[in-house]
Symmetry: C2
Subunit: 356 residues, 2 copies
């Protein structure tokens, strides 16, 4: 019996995760999978109920699980809280405690949604990038950090950006292996001309390269990478970078596809145990209105079956069902266009379950 | 007599700066301006000639000047040098030594080049964003920094991200004042949910806001900002952010216009002494072939006349001349499209001088 922990979180999290769980239940039936699900609190809803964004009970259940399905955390309600007890701290805490260092963020243009991108169609049609982001190190977790008072009486904020060779090597291997299974091209993104951390980063990537002779490694400065994503995104296959640059570039890349409501992500540890979540956030402005697109979460369930639960047939089935639903012109508001049928969160879940 | 120091730098720097100087000479004549120019070395060419990227002579001349016109620095020839003696160190050194903390990077879509953008025209037509980037602080200059060996024998790279209240306040004021003169909207970009530095950043921006009641201040996370630049860039008027985020977002914003060869920038100190340079880099692949677009440099001369030399009429004249040249369909390769006349670097300079 495999264990999946479900963490709905905040905002639209509850609604979209509910549809993800329905789809998981449907494939369990269809394929006779031995999977049990449990639920726990994280983020703002955990703060409201227990005072902390990552209760011990949640962390213990997460440790015991084979995979985790997360909705999203955060919202204006908790924006003025101190950083130590904000909803985001729950997310960062679980990533770090479970050593989920390998964050895979695909940016795929769905042919059925080709018009949704703000980029010209020849620039993005067929776009299929995988961003590999280091998720448990870098400036997100570096010590020392804080706000201190200087001798002249004014305050100063400080954070530490830090990566060790072994941290760089393990995310590098995830990226090289992903590139081997895809187009064989890996672009490592750094700021080698300014930051010492990324001098070491580039050195380690170069050292790994000979072990993966079937992968063509290149390097790019982060400012240029942001530019190239807008200029000619199809030049990329797999990109690998640190936590902060990856946060920025993966959101940029996701938005190129025009369908951020469609994109799943995986955060894996060294044994392919993982947390799965949509790339988009908790969208508090549309929460509770049956408006959110559950497909990113449903596709996160597919990723979970593929990477952590080894149920490839069930993963394929979900992805095919989503494709069928899109072919049929069924759309939530975020991806709707003239001539399509507009549906809500639940009805989209219904459609996927039916298409299975 | 005002003094302008010219720093051609590397790659296409020499070629584009030569055209900038020609245009400056032409407006000097036309408007009877009292401006003398001098030249000095910086970057890779300075390394080749003197062993260091920022020779004392250059720095002394820069201190004595009223304004500086820079081409670009860097290239693969110097890529394997140690960080302390790389071409970029010359650029970072002059920014820091002269306290040019206020970097203004406009991203403007020229109506004559509307088709050059990779974004759909309704998304970018009329785009006019100003990015205000802090240029002498943040992780670019933070101490301690380096690569050290840990107890377990492996190495670790580390950099320090740091901003004091006064550093944030002075760049904040530059941005608020710019917003007052433009559309009255200022978006401050941070990572307030993760980094303590930007908690202080946001606090200082909020504290300044009441002094500028005619400016509407908003805050945005940097990952969302990268996304929104692709999704709906026209929502922005002025954006303000730190050195590293500004590096990434300003290149992204510039590329949205499709005419990165057209965009000038200014880096100002507290007294509006400034260094002016194109947003694009040294493009070593096309150097020495009369292919580079000199318009970003020529427009940087206009910015210099406007901000540091107080010669508004001459600045206007240059900008109008560039507009005329574009109206006439004259284009370098980077902005060329069907039906236009393709010209080289020098011929583009000729055209602007003639249009003056
Ligand atoms: C919510 C926030 C802490 C998080 C991050 O910055 O990692 C989010 O932006 C993401 O990319 O998953
Ligand atoms: C060349 C490099 C050091 C520089 C920077 O990162 O500031 C450049 O990218 C820029 O934006 O002017």
């Amino acid at each position: 019996m495999k264990k999946v922990l479900v963490l709905p979180g905040d905002g639209i999290g509850t609604e979209i995760v509910a549809q993800g769980v329905r789809v998981l239940d449907a494939v369990k039936q269809k394929f006779g999978l031995q999977i049990e699900t449990d639920h726990a609190l994280i983020g703002g809803s955990a703060i409201d109920a227990t005072g902390v964004p990552l209760p011990d009970e949640t962390l213990n259940k997460a440790r015991a699980a084979d995979a985790i399905l997360l909705g999203a955390v955060g919202g204006p309600k908790w924006d003025d809280l101190d950083m130590a007890v904000r909803p985001e701290k729950g997310l960062l805490g679980i990533r770090s405690q479970l050593e989920l260092f390998g964050n895979l963020r695909p940016a795929i243009l769905y042919p059925q949604l080709a018009d949704a991108s703000t980029l010209k169609s020849e620039v993005v049609s067929g776009l299929d990038i995988l961003i590999v982001r280091e998720l448990t190190g870098g400036i997100y977790f570096g010590q020392p950090r804080g706000i201190r008072t200087l001798e002249n009486g004014e305050r100063e904020g400080f954070n530490t950006y830090v990566y060790s060779e072994s941290e760089i090597e393990r995310i590098g291997r995830v990226a090289f292996e992903a590139a081997q299974k895809r187009g064989g091209k890996l672009c490592s993104v750094d700021k080698h001309n300014v930051l010492e951390v990324t001098v070491l980063w580039r050195e380690v990537m170069d050292r790994l390269a000979p072990e993966y002779p079937d992968v063509e490694l290149s390097h790019m400065y982060v400012d240029n990478a942001a530019m190239q994503l807008v200029r000619a995104p199809k030049q990329f296959d797999v990109m690998v970078t640190g936590n902060m640059f990856g946060d920025i570039l993966s959101d940029c890349a996701a938005m190129l596809t025009g369908s951020i409501g469609m994109l799943p992500s995986a955060s894996l540890d060294a044994n392919n145990k993982g947390m799965y979540e949509p790339v988009h956030g908790s969208a508090p402005d549309i929460a509770g209105q049956d408006l959110a697109n559950p497909l990113a979460t449903i596709l996160s369930v597919a990723m979970m079956l593929r990477y952590s639960l080894n149920e490839v047939a069930a993963a394929d089935a979900i992805e095919q069902a989503v494709s069928k639903v899109l072919d049929a012109g069924i759309r939530t508001g975020d991806i709707w266009s003239e001539g399509c049928e507009k549906v809500g969160t639940q009805a989209m879940g219904d459609a996927v379950v039916q298409a299975l």
